[in-house]
């Protein structure tokens, strides 16, 4: 049963849009899967390799803007941005990795945080290139129905999941965990830590950039405050993993379901008004305090808790 769980989930997810769901539900499903992809990407760098990044919005934004600039400046379909974003994000993540991966622990987090802000302000100011705060609008939508977008992001998610599973189970994954546990010890055992950290950053960045390029095509509009947002992209990427479970395969998926669906559910409670942000924040704090390893990581604890409640 457990062995076939991924296939069963995949079957459920691929049948879901055929049920004739409304476009609102489809939108939420697409966002759940997109956040799961970004969460998985962050999990590879932050969860397995231990390099906590507060700047994943930078890669997301670079991917999104690769697509957008390709459309607005060269007049090519924005879908070409997805393969091209692989190259652009790899190149930029190599540069960023070269600068920032010499920092450790909290300093790496602060450095990436600053990098995200620098890229946002740069995108706002290079008006000749990125249209600045006006943003880039994709005027021709490829499809009106959301079902095709859903399948595209689903394929990306499946590939990402498979890739990360393969990487983590290979020798590379063990190197990553060794670097996370003790960088000096890993280095003294002959692991080229800088090289493997760069590999982890590159993989993580490329997946995030791909999600960014998808975002441009799906939403049809990007501006620096949206795609380079610290609170809405970088922090949410971390929250998705923290809520779901750090360094677990299924954590990001569970986390993104919680982050997106729970936020929508709370938003739909009548008479709450804008206080839904407050309620959602409190719920997140409760989850993080009582389930420090995330929902997947503390699954046993959760089960025990509910089992005890049912018995009494």
């Amino acid at each position: 049963m457990k062995k076939y769980l991924p296939l069963i989930l995949l079957a459920i997810f691929s049948v879901l849009p055929l049920l004739g769901l409304s476009s609102y539900v489809m939108h939420i499903l697409i966002f759940v899967i997109m956040w799961a992809v970004i969460g998985m990407a962050w999990n590879l760098l932050g969860g397995y390799c231990g390099q906590v990044s507060f700047g994943h919005a930078a890669f997301f934004g670079i991917g999104a803007y690769t697509s957008g600039i390709l459309y607005s400046k060269l007049g090519v379909s924005a879908w070409w941005g997805m393969p091209l974003s692989l190259l652009v994000v790899t190149a930029s993540s190599l540069v960023i990795g070269y600068i920032f991966l010499r920092l450790r622990g909290p300093f790496f987090a602060l450095g990436t945080l600053a990098m995200g802000v620098i890229l946002r302000v740069t995108a706002e100011n290079l008006t000749a290139f990125t249209e600045g705060d006006l943003g880039i609008m994709i005027r021709e939508r490829t499809w009106v129905e959301k079902i095709w977008y859903y399948y595209i992001i689903l394929i990306i998610a499946v590939c990402t999941f498979y890739l990360i599973k393969k990487v983590v189970e290979s020798k590379l994954g063990y190197y990553f965990v060794a670097i996370r546990e003790d960088q000096d010890a890993a280095e003294s055992l002959g692991i080229n830590t800088t090289y493997y950290k760069t590999v982890a950053l590159c993989l993580s960045a490329v997946i995030t950039g791909l999600a960014g390029a998808f975002y441009t095509n799906y939403m049809g509009y990007i501006d620096p405050k949206v795609v380079f947002a610290l609170h809405d992209i970088s922090i949410v990427a971390i929250m998705v993993v923290m809520v779901g479970g750090v360094a677990t395969y299924w954590g990001p998926l569970v986390g993104s379901v919680i982050m997106v669906v729970l936020a929508e559910v709370i938003r739909s409670i009548p008479k709450l008004g804008t206080a839904h942000h407050t309620l959602f924040g409190i719920l997140l704090i409760v989850i993080i305090i009582f389930l420090p390893n995330g929902i997947v990581g503390d699954y046993k604890k959760l089960k025990r808790f509910f089992g005890v409640r049912r018995a009494s």
Binding site: F107, L110, I118, V121
Partner: protein, 131 residues
């Protein structure tokens, strides 16, 4: 005595606990003192700035930058760091354009992280020791 206990807590949590320092209390005192100072600074800011609920966010980042630039755990460093940051930011705003000012701020931050990880205070200390 209070300061020594706070520094001991910062250096080694467990050792401080074994030496009879009330670690939890020290943390609460430090956090409270820091928050109170920031609150006082906020009151001083209000006559020259406009007020809205998101106001705090931008200053949190600047505070990070100044502390790293000056050197963690040093008051003099924070003052010098703040001065350098302010001047550098204004220069960027003047010569590169108003919108680029945050870039200047964070570039100097990253430069400080990479080239002088101990902050400006570590440079001063090195000079005093004659190295």
């Amino acid at each position: 005595d209070l300061g020594k206990s706070i520094r001991a807590t910062a250096q080694d949590n467990d050792a401080a606990l074994l030496m009879g320092v009330n670690v939890g209390k020290m943390r609460v005192i430090t956090f409270g003192l820091g928050s109170a100072l920031v609150g006082a600074a906020g009151c001083l800011l209000i006559p020259i700035y406009y007020l809205y609920p998101d106001l705090g966010g931008q200053f949190t980042l600047i505070a990070f930058v100044i502390t790293i630039l000056g050197g963690l755990g040093s008051t003099i460093g924070a003052i010098i760091g703040g001065l350098i940051l302010g001047v550098f930011e204004s220069m960027t705003a003047t010569y590169a354009g108003m919108g680029w000012a945050p870039v200047g701020r964070f570039v100097i931050f990253i430069a400080a992280l990479i080239f002088i990880p101990g902050g400006i205070v570590s440079l001063l200390k090195r000079k005093r020791l004659g190295k």
